[in-house]
């Protein structure tokens, strides 16, 4: 399964690119573009988280903390101190990477639920700081974030731009931008998985003891992937802040961390394209269920439970397994 997935690495990217190109034909108003853009940014975040959860087998219940830190770093650096967006993003990612490395070393010695507990604590501490430091972060009521800009050229969801002579709206421009980011995020993740680092990580997931016996420095690789996934979260948090134009500490909250991990598990742990599907489903579901009013939460809980009970491997792996089984049956029948 995993091998076949590796071989189809390029195929997967091509399919994703095609979907992203065709999708606008089905988006009928700016609100749909906004949703699609948010989904792309969140999907890129969980592609990073999946490296940690799906491939290294380490569960993080505090990832929104890194996402929130990145968002607030971008917001404060560009809004309060007038930095340009890209240096702010990069500086934020470096700082978050260092923080992740510092807390990661001791935390990642922990196993199973203790690791989850420690990441949860780190996430909570970050959220509490963002909430309390009113003078810097604006406190619980949040803070505005300026539009994303590169070399004086501003990318605002409210602007209009021309591309090859075609006039496009700000949200369409953001959609294209975030699509490219998502493709880059996926491309990087797929390459990492196939590299020697990726192989070492998978051995950690299989059995950490066995991996260390054959000479894999498990601690080093775990820290490395923890830092990489935190950097993913930080960069995407920064972009999300620029796109939304306003952030509150809720984006660093425990609920948001749970949402991220649910996207990974629901979509399919260890499947890069699966977790993207997870992000799509979990972002759209509340919009669809909003029409059910009082029943919204009941239905959301029920759907989450049933999906996980009947598809414990996640949506995409289960679906692909079902499809390939059917194909095999068909070809078997003809033979």
């Amino acid at each position: 399964m995993l091998n076949r997935f590796m071989q189809s690495r390029l195929q997967g990217l091509v399919v994703l690119t095609l979907i992203l190109i065709i999708l606008p034909a089905f988006l009928s108003n700016p609100f749909h573009y906004e949703l699609a853009t948010q989904i792309a940014i969140l999907a890129a975040t969980v592609v990073g988280l999946n490296l940690l959860v799906g491939f290294a087998g380490q569960i993080s219940l505090g990832h929104a903390g890194f996402f929130g830190l990145g968002a607030y770093f971008s917001g404060i650096a560009t809004g309060t101190y007038g930095w340009p967006s890209v240096p702010a993003l990069v500086a934020g990612a470096i700082i978050v990477g260092i923080i992740a490395w510092i807390v990661g070393r001791p935390i990642l010695r922990l196993k199973g639920h203790y690791l989850s507990m420690a990441t949860l604590a780190v996430g909570f501490i970050i959220a509490i700081i963002l909430n309390n430091e009113r003078a810097i972060t604006g406190g619980p009521d949040g803070m505005p974030v300026p539009a994303f800009e590169v070399f004086g050229w501003e990318l605002s969801p409210f602007g209009t731009y021309s591309l090859f002579g075609l006039e496009i709206s700000g949200v369409q421009a953001w959609y294209m931008f975030s699509s490219v980011i998502l493709l880059l995020a996926v491309w990087f993740a797929l390459n990492l998985i196939q590299s020697p680092i990726g192989r070492a990580l998978r051995s950690v997931k299989g059995s950490e003891v066995a991996a260390s016996v054959v000479g894999v420095d498990t601690a080093k690789y775990k820290s490395l992937v923890f830092v990489i996934s935190a950097i993913y979260a930080s960069l995407m948090g920064g972009l999300y802040a620029h796109f939304q134009g306003f952030i509150t500490p809720a984006i660093a909250s425990f609920e948001f961390s749970i949402l991220f991990i649910t996207m990974v598990v629901l979509g399919g742990m260890g499947s890069t394209f699966g977790v993207i599907l997870g992000a799509v489903v979990l972002k759209l579901l509340p919009q669809v269920l909003a029409d059910f009013q009082d029943l919204e939460h009941v239905m959301f809980g029920l759907i989450l439970m049933l999906t996980m009970i009947f598809m414990p491997k996640g949506l995409l792996p289960t679906l692909t397994a079902a499809v390939s089984k059917r194909i095999r049956k068909k070809t078997g029948g003809e033979a």
């Binding site: 949703l35 619980p140 949040g142 952030i247 509150t248 799509v280 909003a290 029409d291 919204e296």
Partner: protein, 385 residues
């Protein structure tokens, strides 16, 4: 995938809309009033009565023939107290549902997250949240119905000063309401030459505030205690205050101005004061008070329809909806620019919260006098001034 899901959602909306149309049997297209409220989640204290109020008065207005001969259609979403979903739902209201006006935004965070979008899309928006930043500085398309937390702080501190109190212990919630109220209190106190000697906080989910209150009790020189917060937190603070046997004058904010607070706090609430709209004491208003009738009616109608107590927050939604209706009537159409201009020029609208006098410089239109100081006596609210 996206398409089918959105289409399915659209279908539901269409069915709901069709149902409304059939009921009204009116040819004219309905006027769409959009709303995003924190109906569930930590701010459901605000969103729940707000939604109930909007639903019942939209119904009532429709029974009475609607506005400009057209029926009203309420489209509302639950933002669960999350600013990010508030912004998304605001976008959905504007771009997918194409509403004519938005009355909503239970919390300051939710409101402020939606403001940039609303300003850009140029849709009239009446916020139901309190913080002073919403309408100061004035934003072209944004109005609000609650008094600001700054006014509340001014009203409370003035009342303290009248009683000769100048040194205060402050306890506040770490949520948006308490945190913004705390900031305003600190500023107003400085202006009025009053001292905040103790400044402690509790988070919305805390279940015991004895430690924080002990801290205040042990601070020398404190002459009165003020609690800024909403939800169940202030009720726990009130009970802990009584248990600790603290006897300094005790003030709460308008965040707990409802009868359900009295139920929660019980006899511990005895003697505390807070600023509130006259909603809690409709019968003790003098007969010549212009607000008396409005307030009495709202209270009676709400309580008979929902079998639960009125709260100040529902009243914000009442005033928001009535201001919207009045502006649309005066504009004679739902043209956004015309409705906005009409809103900005509303004078002398007597609502449940107070008398609104909007102007291009003031998109709230209330003054601090619209707050009355109430005191709990024998388990009931008493009007002090």
């Amino acid at each position: 995938m996206l398409k089918t899901m959105i289409r399915r959602a659209g279908k539901c909306a269409v069915i709901a809309a069709a149902g409304l149309m059939m009921m009204s049997a009116q040819a004219a297209e309905p006027i769409k009033i959009g709303s995003f409220l924190s109906v569930t989640g930590p701010a459901s204290f605000l969103g729940d009565p707000e939604l109930k109020t909007l639903e019942m008065y939209v119904e009532k207005i429709n029974e009475e023939g609607g506005v400009l001969g057209r029926q009203l259609e309420l489209i509302h979403y639950d933002d669960v107290g999350n600013a990010s979903s508030a912004r998304n739902f605001a976008s959905r209201l504007i771009r997918s549902d194409r509403v004519d006006i938005i009355v909503g935004g239970s919390t300051t965070g939710a409101t402020m997250a939606a403001v940039p979008l609303i300003e850009q899309a140029q849709v009239p928006f009446i916020s139901l949240a309190g913080a002073v930043v919403i309408t100061t500085p004035v934003k072209k398309w944004v109005f609000k119905t609650p008094q600001s937390d700054r006014m509340a702080a001014e009203r409370i501190l003035t009342d303290m000063k009248d009683r000769g109190i100048t040194r205060i212990g402050l306890i506040s919630g770490t949520g948006g309401f308490g945190s913004s109220g705390r900031t305003q209190t600190l500023e107003v106190a400085e202006q009025m030459g009053m001292e905040i000697l103790a400044d402690v906080t509790y988070s919305g989910s805390d279940t015991d505030m004895t430690a924080q209150l002990t801290n205040i009790r042990n601070t020398k020189g404190v002459e009165a205690v003020l609690n800024f917060g909403f939800g169940q937190g202030p009720a726990i603070v009130t009970r802990n205050y009584a248990q600790l046997g603290m006897e300094l004058p005790f003030y709460q904010s308008h965040g707990v101005a409802s009868d359900s607070f009295l139920e929660l706090a019980g006899s511990s609430a005895e003697g505390l004061r807070l600023p509130a709209s006259p909603l809690l004491v409709p019968d003790s208003l003098p007969d010549d008070d212009p607000q008396k009738e409005v307030v009495q009616n709202y209270k009676a109608e709400y309580e008979s329809r929902w079998d639960s107590k009125v709260s100040t927050f529902g009243a914000y939604a009442y005033d928001g909806l009535m201001l919207a209706v009045r502006a649309i009537e005066e504009a004679g159409s739902t043209d956004p620019e015309a409705v906005r201009n009409a809103l900005e020029n509303i004078k002398g609208y007597v609502g449940v919260t107070g008398e609104f006098n909007m102007s291009p410089e003031d998109h709230n239109g209330l003054d601090a006098d619209s707050f009355r100081i109430l005191e709990v006596q024998n388990g009931e609210w008493k009007l002090i001034n």
